[in-house]
Symmetry: C2
Subunit: 116 residues, 2 copies
Amino acid sequence: MSRQPEKSSEAELLQGTLDMLILKVTALQPIHGYAIAQRIQQISRDALQIRQGSLYPALYRLENRGWLKADWRTTEGGREAKFYSLTPQGRRQLAVETAGWRRLCDAISLVLETAE
Amino acid sequence: MSRQPEKSSEAELLQGTLDMLILKVTALQPIHGYAIAQRIQQISRDALQIRQGSLYPALYRLENRGWLKADWRTTEGGREAKFYSLTPQGRRQLAVETAGWRRLCDAISLVLETAE
DNA sequence: GCGAGATGCCTAGGATGTCAAGGTATGCTG
DNA sequence: CAGCATACCTTGACATCCTAGGCATCTCGC
């Protein structure tokens, strides 16, 4: 996985969804920032790409709000990395955001599928 | 339909979806701004609420980019109103945005449904 | 042994889009 | 005539994202 030269420039993110995605990935297991972006990209089959310039401010934001907490550990590769895990409030928040997302998805589908 | 006092404050919009929604609604038939917001709200069963402060800048934006064109007509109520209709480019754009939206929806679903 | 690339963190600055809150004017209805 | 719905618009604040940098370590190929 190469650095940021961005081949395709596709893959814009929808504002507001990033937090939810991060919460979801950290809910699977404690994981460090750099790997979060990789994981999301991998799970979404490259449809979603998180830029570092979006990722780290988001992590800071989420930790600050108490959704995530961080501690330094060493990766399998033997490096220091900041591992994030979901707090109970974070878990609640994830549920809230997921519900909101689905509502929104449904609502937009309604509009998009209006034939008349 | 009362003015903007905003009872519930729910119904946040996802940044980037507004343009698509407007394009879709104007694709159904020429329609004026004020009615666009009503229509979207109605179709989505009140799940989506477009604020005027979002609506008019968006309309300006879309017209400026050539997706929409506007002309003044009179409503059934006998008022002057600016009717917007979709241009051919607008129709193409709608298709583009719809496709992008679905890709994104699917991608996010993939992440949200990861159980592991 | 050395350079390139991957891993890992971070920040500053600008662009964009949405929202809250205001404003104007007209028509209908009680 | 007061109040509300209709219909338009603008301003300023704010959040979020992206571009584009920077830093340090480790590994691999040459």
